[in-house]
Assembly symmetry: C2
Homo-oligomer: 212 residues x 2
């Protein structure tokens, strides 16, 4: 029942036609897929692995835009250049395709992909905004654990990113991240199996911690 077919249809829910002429690229851990301020003439579809997008300020402060997984589209921008860079969190594989020069909204298949990716980006950016604006450290971490868990089927969730990545995503320090994770575990809401794997123990209580 859990055949290759159903697995394939899960891996390419919108049909693979849009990505027919795309180039297949591989990146190793930490490698840059595209750079901040680079011209944004390619868009990418993540086939395997995980990616972070990050924005670096002049003085070294960093903000992680988001984390991406299989089937997510990255590289779509509102301007001519990339506001964020994209780096592979582990070894990963992407399809890259040139966006046909048209920045406008058209009926073509690729434009539909761009539209969907843009609205998805907007939704996630808005959620991220709410998180950064008015949430306590504990709420941010709780929401993060829930969000990551929501992307997986299995009960045990893997964290492909470092504590520093989490900190730069949540607008906190690694020490605070570590302390809040410890607190949530001590309260029995989550259980860690090493630093990079966890399981949610009390979902509703964790949701309460995450507030709205």
């Amino acid at each position: 029942m859990t055949s290759l077919l159903s697995q394939q249809s899960f891996a390419a829910p919108q049909g693979a036609g849009e990505w027919a002429g795309a180039a297949r690229l591989c990146f190793r851990q930490g490698e840059e897929i595209y750079a901040q301020d680079e011209t944004a003439d390619l868009i990418y579809r993540l086939v395997r692995g995980a990616v972070r997008t990050s924005h670096l300020l002049a003085d070294g402060r960093r903000q992680i835009g988001d984390f991406y997984y299989e089937n997510d589209v990255i590289g779509v921008e509102t301007g001519a250049t990339h506001r964020f860079s994209a780096e592979a969190l582990g070894d990963c594989e992407v399809l890259a395709i040139r966006r046909s020069g048209s920045t406008a909204c058209e009926t073509g298949r690729l434009e539909r992909v761009i539209w969907q990716a843009t609205t998805a980006e907007l939704g996630r950016a808005q959620s991220h905004m709410l998180l950064l604006g008015r949430a306590t450290a504990c709420e941010r971490v709780a929401r993060f654990l829930l969000d990551i868990a929501a992307r997986f089927r299995g009960e045990i969730v893997a964290l492909p990113m470092s504590r520093q990545d989490m900190a730069d995503y949540l607008g906190l320090t690694i020490e605070t991240i570590s302390r809040m994770l410890g607190r949530l575990q001590a309260a029995g809401l989550v259980e860690f199996l090493g630093a990079r794997r966890y399981r949610i123990r009390r979902f509703s209580a964790l949701s309460d911690m995450a507030a709205a």
Copy 2:
């Protein structure tokens, strides 16, 4: 020379055709244009006045999404309902039009408006994210003053929003806002004429305070 015609063409830079069948609505200060969680079947074009969008959490914490001025489009959403509500900051006037049910990306004139508004939203949400994630109180306030000023021709800038609105936009308290404004004024970077009008005195120095 500064005729009605040129004023009109400024008021409708992309042609008014898209808004031909739109209803004209007026709101008084503080009135709600649309509510959080309400079905998002209308989009709006702000003709006169200023608007804030805000998201309320269960415990009363509030996050301002953004501030909007003449010719801005509001009400475009990533889902079926409004994630933010919209309120008039002063008396204002909007055009409202039903988005034709099609959530997809099409070549129609209205779809083009929606596309442009969506990308504008994404860009602003990303900037806002960077501001909330890794900026100090002083940097946030400096950037805010620059951003608002960038929307006006004149040298003297009016603030249509209260200190509470600014605070909920920047993720700070009104007291901190007030102190930072005082500090920037004491440093000679800006000059206030009453609480709601200011002038930028040293633009480059203010830009430096705002960091990236």
